[in-house]
Every structure is written in C-alpha cells, then in structure tokens.
Assembly symmetry: C2
Homo-oligomer: 392 residues x 2
Amino acid sequence: MSAQPQLSHDPVFPLHLGGKIEVRSTVALQDRADLSLAYTPGVARVCAVIQADPPAVYDYTVKSHMVAVVTDGTAVLGLGDIGPAAALPVMEGKALLFKEFGGVDAFPLCLDTTDVDEIVETVVRVAPVFGGINLEDISAPRCFEIEKRLQARLDIPVFHDDQHGTAIVVLAALLNASRLTGRPLPTLRAVVAGAGAAGLAVTRTLLTAGIGDIAVVDSRGVIHADRDDINLAKRDVAVRSNRLGRRGSLRDALRGAHVLIGVSGPDLLDGADIATMAADPIVFALANPVPEVDPVAALAAGASVVATGRSDLPNQINNVLAFPGIFRGALDVRAPVINGAMKRAAAHAIAAAVGAELAPDYIVPTPFDRSVAPAVAAAVAAAARATGVARR
Amino acid sequence: MSAQPQLSHDPVFPLHLGGKIEVRSTVALQDRADLSLAYTPGVARVCAVIQADPPAVYDYTVKSHMVAVVTDGTAVLGLGDIGPAAALPVMEGKALLFKEFGGVDAFPLCLDTTDVDEIVETVVRVAPVFGGINLEDISAPRCFEIEKRLQARLDIPVFHDDQHGTAIVVLAALLNASRLTGRPLPTLRAVVAGAGAAGLAVTRTLLTAGIGDIAVVDSRGVIHADRDDINLAKRDVAVRSNRLGRRGSLRDALRGAHVLIGVSGPDLLDGADIATMAADPIVFALANPVPEVDPVAALAAGASVVATGRSDLPNQINNVLAFPGIFRGALDVRAPVINGAMKRAAAHAIAAAVGAELAPDYIVPTPFDRSVAPAVAAAVAAAARATGVARR
C-alpha cells in the first residue's frame, strides 16, 4: 500500500490503509483432519442436511449472524452522491460497529447501480448468505421503495438505517427530554426541518408514538397535502402530519413550537429563531458537522435541552445506539422483519439506559455505553415474540 | 443454535455450528477518538479522496485483498445442483482456505439465480468491493460463458477455480510425472475422461503447455468435430484436440495412451483397462471420493505414477495448492486478469515446490506445505509483470 504523500499528515489515512475489516476463520485448520471436516469431504454432509432441511442453513452457516450493509453510494454522509467505491470506507466502518457493539458480523456491499429495480434484484439474489439487510446511504425517495420491495420479497429483516435508526434514537431522546421537562409527548408540537429519509422516518415514528403534532418542512416550506411539488413519500406524511394546518416557511412553523428536530443542513437558524418557539423548547439540531442552529446560541435563547449529531458535544444522537442491538435482537429470534413494535421497543430501551442520571445534558447514552446494545437486543427480541414474528 | 440431535455423533456438525467465518475489525475502536477516525467524521475525508482519485480505493479499503467466492449452487462437490443456501458451507470453507493459505480475505456470495444474464449482472453490480472474483461450483457449460462475460466487463480478475485451479494442479503434477519418467510432454498422448468444466480446462491447459495429443471422452465417447451432440465448449476443444482422430469409447481411446486423467466419476475402469495403455502409464484418477479406477489396481496393472483427489492417498491433486497463491499474486500486482502465462507460472511453481524429493508417490506438494502459496504468488506476480498486466 502506498498512501498519497500529501495525505500523510492526517491520521485518518494511515488508519485506513488496507481497509478496516477482515474475514477470518472461526475454526481450526491445522492438519488434514481439520481440512476434511471444514472442507471436503466432510462439508458435503452439512450441505446435504441443508438441502434436505432448508432452515438448517441458520444452524450450520454464517447466515444466523451475518448482515449485508448495502449502499449505492448516492447519499453518503454529508458528501452526497459519491458512488459505490468512495462509499466503501463508510460501509466498512458500519460493519465494524455492528461487530464491536452488537456482536453481529456485517459485510459491505456497494452496488454499481442506482436503478431501483436493479438494486432490488441484486439484493434478492445475494440474500441467501445473509440473515438481515441494512440499507445505508441510499438517497430519498428511492430508499423508500427499495426497502419496501425488498422486505416484500425476502424473509429476512430489511432495515434502512438512515430512516429507522435515526428515528429510533430521536424517539429515545425525545422520550427522555419529555420526561425531564414534564411535558408528555401528546402535548408537544414539533417541527421537523428536512424531509429526506431521516426527516420522514422521524415524523412517522413520532406520530406513531403519539406526539401532538408535527409540521415537516422541506426546502420550499411546510409540506401539506395541497402542495403539488412533493413526491409520494412526502405526500404520505403530509396527509398524516400538520394537523394544525400550518403553511409557510420554517420560521413560520417554528413560532410557538415546543420541539425542533433538524435533519437538514448547516446554519438554517439562529438564536432569535429559537426565541420565537414556546418556552423552554427542546432543540435537536442533527446536521453534522455543522448543526442547523448553533447549540450555544440555542441554549442562550432559552432551549431547555439541546442534542446534536456531534461526538464532541453532549447528547449525541448516534445511530450506533440502535442498529447493532436491533439486528442482534432480530437475528437472535430469526425475525423475518423489524416491525414497528420492535423499533419502539428499541427506543424505549435506549431511553431507559440513561437511568437515574437523566439530565438536560444527558438524555441519551454515549455511543460507548456497552450496556445499550444488549438491552436493545433483549427488548427487540421480546417485542418480536410479543408480536408473533419470532421464529425461535 | 440447536443442532439436529440425530447428527450429533458426526463431528462435522458441531464444527459447523454458526458457520466457519467471521468479519472482524482490523483497527482499534476503544474510544471516541478511534470512532471519529474509523467512522464519522474522519471517514468522510477518505471517501472524498477516493471520489477524486478512484484507484485510491485499493489503498484505503478492503478491495486490495478481498475476493468474492461466487456460486449459484448448481455443481457443488459430488452433490450437484443443491441450490445457493446448501452450497454456503463449501463457500465458507473456500473462504477460510483463501485466508489460511494465501492471506487473502474472501467472502461467499451464493446467488439465488441460475440464469447466466442475471448472474453476470449481479456480480458486476457487487464488484466495487472486490479485488477479484472466484467462481465456484457453477455447472458447465454456463460456467464458461459466465466467466468470459464477467472478465470482459470487469477490471479485476475473474477465475473459475473448478476449471483453472484443477487444470493448473494437474499440469504441475504432469510436469513432475513427465520429468520423473523421462518422457517430455510433447511425447505424451493423454486421455481425459470427463468433458465438464474441469475436463475441458485441463485439456486446454495441457494443449497450451505442449502435450503431444489428447482425446477427451464424455459419456458418449471420444469427442470429435463430427459429433453433432456436443455443446460449443466441447466443440471448441474437439477441433483443437484429438489430432490422431480417435473415435469410440473411453476404452478404445485408452489403448496405447501414456496418460489417463479422470475428472469424471467413480469406478469407470479397472486394472485390465490400465494394462491396455502404453508401458508405465501415468494415471490421475481424480473423482472424489471414489476414483475412476482403483489406485492399487492401477499400480498393479503397471502404472508408474498414480494421483487422486483423496487426502488419504499420496499425490493428492488439490486446488488449494493453486488458488490462494494465484489470487495473492494477482492482487499483489493489481492485475486485472489472470492470464495464461500467470496460470502456467503457477503450475511450474507448484511443480518446483516438490524439489529434490520428487518420487512416484510425491509429484505434488501436500496441501499443508506452507511454502507453496508464497512461491505461487511470487511466480504469478512475476508473470503478470512479464506480460504487462501488472498495475503496480
């Protein structure tokens, strides 16, 4: 390997030389006897058993603990449509988080196509090896259709983390912020800034969880059913949200709201905007690395709780709190889907992990809290059993 | 995991519980600082570099050392068309051999389609993550077209191991048998029993290496250009082999031949058949676990050298002598193909690894000779450089 010389001052490049994951044997292979068990002729007896009894593939192969991290590289971090090869470092990173926090093996699949039909067909064809599919960094609105069609075709969970992972951790954080400030979810009126995959999923999840009202705002203003410039995914949310019938800009929507959830872009708002919200508002400004509103300015303008996506600030909304435990729990019971009950159970488990230390600057656990993923896994598995989707 | 009780007496099943491979991190992930390098925000800088300079994907991701082991499960070991899920234990085994002997990471992809177009499209779409494609246990004649079309579409090596791996180890063994018995390759007349993927690849390779003549025999007899019941792959070989114009059965072809290479099925021949061959014949009976002719009977009938596919007999023709070193060498120089010169170099390196101990019961190294893969890798890399296909 030879790093490009001009990059050698940045520790991120030497760390990435040769990538971040490897495929290793979990069995001994020291002599002829080992080889005759792990490979020919012994392996043929395992193949024959799986052929005769297909569910045995979960017993005797990696399928029971292997997740595909699938992307087409169209919506990678803040970088956008950078293609499958440039997306690979992120997917490798995701794979190592799966292993580190959930004990789940994950393999990156970066697809050289952005066509919805082709992505669906490709994932269906590679599915036999995997116990679950984590969709990652696929741009909206294609991500919605891809997830829906894949889940309809496959008997393993399909989970678009940018939607559901974010929504689950936001719900967890909001449950704790609501508890901390003594305002139950049904009393809260929220504004979601951003109507991409994360914004729409957060909205759906909070509505299902019983929040009072949500106005979703895209680059052209509040989305509502009368707008003819919105895609089907936005329209579906438009007819279910905005019960108060708001119109206008982000600033219009924000006036008097209790909660701001930014999943949009940097520096949309300032302290003066936060000051127009209801008293002691809850502000989640999740754009990364530059939040929608400066956290210090938001606090100065009266925010009671501020969360961001940044690792160097309190209350980091980080999907790693959710996906490793969610897949671990789903795989443990061989659930064919990750349903709404399982997602909500994950959010409650994340919120509960904060425990008695709950405070304005501690509404979600840190990403390195090793107790979170096992708690999430147990809650998800229990929810799968309770909803009848557990297969073991 | 719960093994089926009736299988618990066979050690192959407990060994396979949960599969045989795992995906692991090769970087530290202990604290926030590690996370900010291996994942967000640091990873974005690596993505940006790859987007700007596509070949950098080889420097900063697993692509430089990751091979896909691709099958559709149609021709698995002696089991035949058992489907993708039942084929997975074999592909996992292959992956661990890649790692153990070649230091190459490999991941199994068992495809839920047997359609040639769909297999080609699927592999092309998943290719960004991989530095090479090892095709495995795909039935003939589809395997020929799939390999050819994939290699034409991709700038990474595509290698159908059942063809080329077998052919390379057979050539290595024959080079040593020829040397041992003092009969140069051009003086030898061979019979190849079996016209599947392995039989045709062995024939092409031995012809290119300069063997005197070969008669290839399928289930209906010697293949020749006048037969109208053969597929295009067999026809292509028919017009290049059988210069002596043989017709008839396997037994007809065998009469007076110097070499028998069986890549067919069990118990086709007996000692009396071997006795009809030229004096001191060379017999490779590679059907596994039951060879085409009993090795003891072949020796008793006058064979000078006998090789089989069995691990419990001398002279095991095992592809593991070839593929780990071949991919290691090709990956080391980022060759976009594994060309004929690279394959022949591999065969010569395997043959040379036997060294001064060359004897009738030691014409190929044992599969556990750790010196073989590095020697093969070096020879393959050198051949890639010599033929102008090395990219580093």
